[in-house]
């Protein structure tokens, strides 16, 4: 039977009489865990912000018609040349329309799919923004703005005006911030756009759109789907893109593949489109963990050292405990519980320090043109990191305590008492 009360009492007395060593060892753990929490919260916060900057503007699945050459050139169908080695020079892309064939039925089908959170139609058109005699090339994207605002965070990027304003106007436009600056336009002004065919339409600026990515803000604007269909002179079923948002992002790749086969269109998933961001996040996480584990190993060596010294100092005490009837296991538990107490106290203080530091960083101003919605450094307060942190602390102190305490367990009391 293990008499915890007695064991913990002895452990406590040892720790209290060696206050300096105890504090040093605990501080090592506190430092390690505090640094881990701060690092991981800040790093993942930053990761999430950077990812969302790009990923929020990328649908989970993007369906469109790709302009590309036919996979099978006509000569391959010609039986007489079946066994021949055919060379075709200057292949041209296949003649096809930009619009998605049967766009609206596909859209309705997608909206009924149980795995799909929502699907929105888009019409992307090349246009020119006219400013006096100057023509600026760019895109105009026709969207179902209310649906879009629900599925993506486009609302966050409308820096002036609202999504509702666009919906309410027949010929409104959300002008890209870069364009507005170039043409010295502001909300309420009018801007003229011209189609590739040369038709000119005046549109009213109901808001300014700023994604934070200059390349987009300098060319892209949003308007209602109906407005652009009218500008282009196309029917109401003319859509070039469908953006799909899923309930589970992990299914994007497989679903994109099946949609592509089912509808005979190009369907790309978010993972294909943004593979490099995943890589970046993974590497940053790797660095965070490498640094934290290094810190914890250093703290672990500190504990190992201090316990080792303590055990040498307490050799006689250990012998006497054993002589008076404490078993080797009891002695080991005495020293293990010291290690675990140091780990637990140091770890809990580490969590507190980490939380306070994260809070501090969270309140530091961080304003940048590129990120209109961000005002302070991003911090990710994920409870899991705190669970991992305290587990780290306990595991590393357990390992650091195990070796010295095992030595204490095996000390032969006779040798110590007889002084040989």
């Amino acid at each position: 039977m293990i008499n915890w009360k007695v064991i913990l009492n002895i452990a406590k007395t040892h720790l209290l009489t060696k206050m300096k060593s105890t504090v040093t060892a605990s501080l090592g753990v506190t430092f390690g865990i505090g640094a881990y929490i701060t690092l991981v919260s800040f790093m993942t916060g930053l990761n999430e912000m950077l990812d969302s900057l790009i990923l929020n503007q990328t649908p989970h699945i993007h369906i469109y018609n790709e302009i590309e050459p036919s996979e099978k050139q006509p000569i391959a169908l010609y039986q007489e040349f079946e066994d021949a080695f055919n060379v075709v020079n200057s292949i041209k892309p296949k003649q096809s329309q930009k619009k998605i064939h049967n766009g609206l039925p596909i859209l309705n089908y997608l909206k009924r799919d149980k795995k799909v959170y929502g699907a929105t139609p888009q019409l992307r058109a090349q246009i020119f923004y006219l400013s006096g005699s100057i023509e600026l090339g760019g895109n105009l994207v026709g969207v179902d703005i209310m649906e879009e605002a629900k599925l993506s965070n486009i609302g966050d990027y409308i820096v002036e005006g609202t999504a509702q304003d666009l919906k309410n106007s027949e010929n409104g436009i959300l002008l890209g911030a870069g364009l507005a600056k170039k043409m010295s336009l502001k909300k309420g002004d009018r801007v003229q756009v011209s189609t590739i065919k040369g038709d000119v339409f005046p549109l009213k600026i109901v808001g300014i759109y700023q994604s934070g990515i200059a390349d987009i803000d300098n060319i892209q604007s949003y308007t209602n789907l109906k407005t652009i269909q009218r500008i282009l002179g196309e029917a109401q079923n003319y859509i070039t893109d469908i953006n799909v948002k899923l309930y589970d992002i992990n299914e994007a790749t497989s679903m994109a593949k099946s949609f592509g086969q089912q509808f005979q269109v190009k369907a790309t998933s978010i993972n294909e489109a943004n593979a490099q961001f995943e890589t970046g996040s993974n590497i940053r996480n790797l660095i965070t963990y490498a640094v934290s584990i290094t810190l914890l190993i250093v703290a672990g060596f500190g504990i190992y050292n201090i316990l080792n010294m303590l055990i040498y100092e307490k050799m006689k005490d250990i012998a006497i405990l054993k002589a008076t009837g404490f078993s080797g296991n009891d002695v080991q538990l005495i020293f293990m519980s010291q290690a675990m107490i140091i780990g637990a106290i140091g770890g809990i203080f580490g969590l507190i320090v980490g939380f306070v530091l994260s809070k501090l960083i969270d309140n530091v101003a961080f304003e940048t043109e590129a990120l209109p919605t961000i005002t302070t450094y991003p911090i990710n307060y994920n409870a899991w990191y705190y669970v991992i942190g305290i587990s780290f602390a306990l595991i590393s102190t357990f390992v650091a305590g195990w070796l010295p305490s095992n030595k204490a367990k095996r000390i032969d009391p006779v040798r110590i008492i007889r002084g040989t």
Partner: protein, 224 residues
């Protein structure tokens, strides 16, 4: 006649630095209530024998009985329990836990045994200290008291679980004559008043002569 402690044919060898036969065919027993002493020159194996009898040293051949039960071959944690409950030990050097108070030092083996409540243990410990005339020191740190007092605290600690036998490895070896006398009279009183069995290894001939029986050892054998 009932033996508290009995050995049958105990032999022990030291392997290092060279093989050496320390104990040769040890047969003997301690009766209940007997105050015995072991004498012999240094190197005669008397301390070695004592540590085997104390169950701390398990590296021997032969059989050791405590209260007529075979102890030899038991597992280590069982031996710890036996030591805790049945054997009190006093060393040449006092060996108290210096960070604890005198009272806590005395209470520790009883807390480990955990047969009594904390208040009972405390009461018992105070009782033992009073019997040895050091109850005033109860709350002192063990490192703050004199050598003679420490040895008495060690005796109180050895007695706390009311053991079957009290063993001593030169308990007076490090004390002046006044304190030695004191310790001897405590042992004598324990034998007479409480009927305790005692086995003391000593160099001190005067001490040994006043015990019930002297066990003489030479070259690993018991002579008488």
């Amino acid at each position: 006649m009932e033996f508290v402690l009995e050995t049958k044919n105990i032999n022990k060898y030291f392997e290092k630095p060279v093989e050496f036969h320390v104990l040769k065919d040890i047969f003997f027993g301690i009766e209940k209530g007997e105050f015995a002493s072991i004498m012999g020159k240094s190197g005669s194996g008397k301390s070695t024998l004592l540590y085997i009898l104390s169950t701390m040293d398990t590296d021997y051949t032969g059989e050791l009985y405590l209260n007529n039960k075979l102890v030899t071959g038991q597992k280590r944690h069982e031996l710890s329990k036996i030591r805790n409950k049945n054997i009190g030990f006093v060393f040449q050097f006092h060996y108290l836990l210096s960070e604890f108070s005198v009272l806590e030092n005395v209470m520790l083996p009883a807390k480990k045994l955990a047969e009594k409540s904390l208040s009972e243990i405390e009461h018992d410990a105070m009782e033992k200290l009073r019997m040895l005339g050091i109850e005033k020191l109860a709350m002192q740190r063990a490192s703050r008291i004199s050598g003679g007092e420490k040895q008495r605290v060690a005796i109180a600690r050895a007695l706390i679980n009311n053991p079957s036998i009290l063993m001593g490895d030169e308990p007076t070896g490090n004390l002046d004559s006044h304190n030695s006398e004191n310790v001897f009279s405590i042992f004598k009183r324990l034998k007479e008043e409480e009927g305790l069995s005692l086995l003391i290894v000593t160099h001190d001939e005067d001490f040994a002569k006043r015990t019930d029986r002297i066990i003489q050892m030479e070259d690993g054998r018991i002579l008488n």
